[in-house]
Amino acid sequence: MSVKPNLSPKKNPMPSQPPEVRAHNFLEVATGYDEATAVDEALRCLHCKNMPCVSGCPVNVEIPAFIEKVKEGDFEGAYEVISRTSSLPAVCGRVCPQETQCEAKCVRGLKGEPVGIGRLERFVADWHNLHSVQPTERPAPNGHKVAVVGSGPAGLTCAGDLAKKGYAVTVFEALHTAGGVLVYGIPEFRLPKEIVRKEVEHLSELGVDVQTNMVVGKTLTVDELFEMGFEAVFIGSGAGLPNFMGIPGESLKGVYSANEFLTRSNLMKAYEENPVTPIRKGGRVAVVGGGNVAMDAARTALRLGAEKVYIVYRRSMEELPARREEVEHAQEEGIEFRLLNNPVEVLGHENPSDRRDPKNGCVTGLKCIRMELGEPDERGRRRPVPVPGSEFVLDVDTVVIAIGTSPNPLIKTTTEGLSVNPRGGIIVEEATGATTREGVFAGGDAVTGAATVISAMGAGKVAAKAIDEFLSKES
């Protein structure tokens, strides 16, 4: 069958809730392609022989092959192609930075927009979740036991890949719900928790045992996992303690780390009416930082009812590290970007005549200084330098600090033989994820510090392959 390719230079637009509507609800922003749009978009793929897109994908999804199936209207077939290499397609289709990965390599992008690979992946995964009735086949056990620490993107990917090979995998999760950053960090309006739940359920069908409320490093140590009969351990314990700026006033009431703000809203569902876990709703909010987490926090604050939300970032838009799409969404929703502004102090209410004044200790403003770009630093980014005498006060009552995290300290402090770098990240061999301790592998933010979902998945995949080789060699 020869079908005419779709030569439109533009992607089929992603149907989305209008900004003025979505700014006030937690429903998903993008609503997804329908079948006809998906087929039309698939027809934009030229099926290049050398498949540059595949090399741009950290988990090497066979992109042209799945797009071919979409063209044919065989959506379940497309899903099967994707799931050969990706354990979490519905997640990746939503949160991967495709514009710097697969789509950055797409030949169609040379003249016009690349094929909407991410949108197609999402469509296929959603179609499968909605329509598939095929029960998941459980692979024959190979008799080996592997422990996975953490149920975020790295851990889930590693667990899924190993389970498909017949390993008996147990995932140990510290929180009460599986999913890691996918449930505590990324907001509902970007990644509905129902989707994460389905992906975890799929792993359970493959035979993966997920144990919640298990803090490895506390409840159990890595040594005890080996004593329990696990032959290899993968550590995907994720990002840890939030960084603060070290400026006066960061302990005032109304100052949150992004992790705390997002965990309260996402994991603990503080956005609901009469929540059991409290969060500041409304008011005027400044989010400090320019990454995707800062965008998530700002857009969450808006949806919680804030009358004004600022992003405060010390460099310019050019250096701002968040995905373009997230920045555009935030701007459309009315979030104001205060670029080349650097906070120097959080101001608080003080009433010396009434020490019981409940407003005492609450945030009343964020004092910032204007910055200008100076000489490039060692990484080539122009260094921001303060403009003397340009201090001003941003009128806010809530401040969210989103300037990154350091790897979680619990495992490294309780595991002998595990080397970490000066920033606390576990040291691994990049090609295998092998740590300095035999049988222990690691990947994701626990190794790299805060990065993306897909790079964590890539690391989980690399480690799963290495664990398989390690355990096949032994027997």
Partner: protein, 283 residues
């Protein structure tokens, strides 16, 4: 799900529960805490471990009914289950080598001070305990403390039981008589710990306090439990969940900790009233 093995009221607002949680019981040490959720939509609250039975696989918690979650927990009966129970979290109290210790507990904080006093007593240390309550009705664990202490001072603010006055009264007496200790360990309301630290400061005796700030994950992820220490004149940010809950009392910024503790006071009050009203309409 974690089974409630037993439930004992200690006074009108304080309850002791034993929870079946074998993994936590195997590892728990004095000074550590757990995080629980009562039901599948519940909030996460930290409670310090009050005791454990490694063989039976049970962990003891003692809590005061102060908010919605403790209200819900207190309505559970022995034989029923709670949704989540994770731990042991935090760093255990450092008790090695201590031979002469003063334990100062206030209110429900005595529940956390008790396992420390017990551990020290069992290790052969001389234990002086000072426990304080607002009044006789709120007194808890007197016999338990007596069993593990070489000396016990029971104080009530209104004098309705024991001696009248706060916990600093016997402390100042002891200091005035020139008594000294290897360490003072104090657990209770922030304001009480602040005064104990101030009473102890002139003596230079090491003084450890147990902090109980607002927490969510308890594993070093959210940073909500941060507090400021003043070390060599410089402020240092620490996280109670992974760096504590025990800290050098002379360094802790109590005023800031007290202020942070009030952040959700109105919310908590309203939430508790909602729970109480719900039960009222159901019964």
């Amino acid at each position: 799900m974690y089974r409630i093995v037993s439930k004992t009221p200690l006074n009108p607002t304080v309850t002791r529960m034993e929870i079946e949680a074998p993994f936590v019981a195997r590892k728990a040490k004095p000074g550590q805490f757990i995080i629980l959720r009562v039901d599948e939509t519940g909030e996460r609250i930290p409670l310090t471990v009050a005791g454990y039975d490694r063989e039976a696989g049970t962990v003891e918690i003692i809590f005061q009914v102060v908010g919605a979650t403790t209200e819900l927990l207190n309505r559970k009966q022995a034989g029923e289950f709670i949704q989540d129970f994770v731990g042991p979290l935090g760093v255990p109290s450092k008790l090695d080598g201590l031979q002469n210790v003063c334990i100062v507990g206030g209110g429900v904080g005595c529940a956390i001070a008790l396992p420390i006093a017990r551990a020290l007593h069992e290790a052969g240390a001389k234990v002086t305990s000072v426990i304080g309550f607002r009044n006789k009705d709120l007194l808890i664990l007197e016999d338990d403390f007596r069993a593990v202490s070489d000396r016990l001072f029971v104080m009530t603010d209104d004098g309705s039981y024991g001696e009248k006055g706060n916990v600093c009264v016997p402390l100042n007496d002891l200091f005035a008589r020139g008594e000294t200790f290897d360490e003072i360990i104090t657990i209770g309301p922030l304001i009480m710990m602040k005064f104990v630290v101030e009473a102890a400061r002139p003596t230079g005796i090491p003084c450890t306090v147990s902090m109980n700030p607002i927490m969510i994950d308890g594993t070093g992820m959210c940073g909500g439990c941060r507090l400021t220490l003043h070390r060599d004149g410089k402020p240092v940010t620490k996280f109670a969940c992974v760096d504590g809950p025990d800290f050098n009392g002379y360094e802790v910024d109590f005023d800031e900790a007290m202020s942070r503790g009030t952040m959700y006071r109105d919310f908590e009050q309203a939430a508790r009233e909602r729970v109480c009203n719900l039960y009222r309409t159901q019964s």
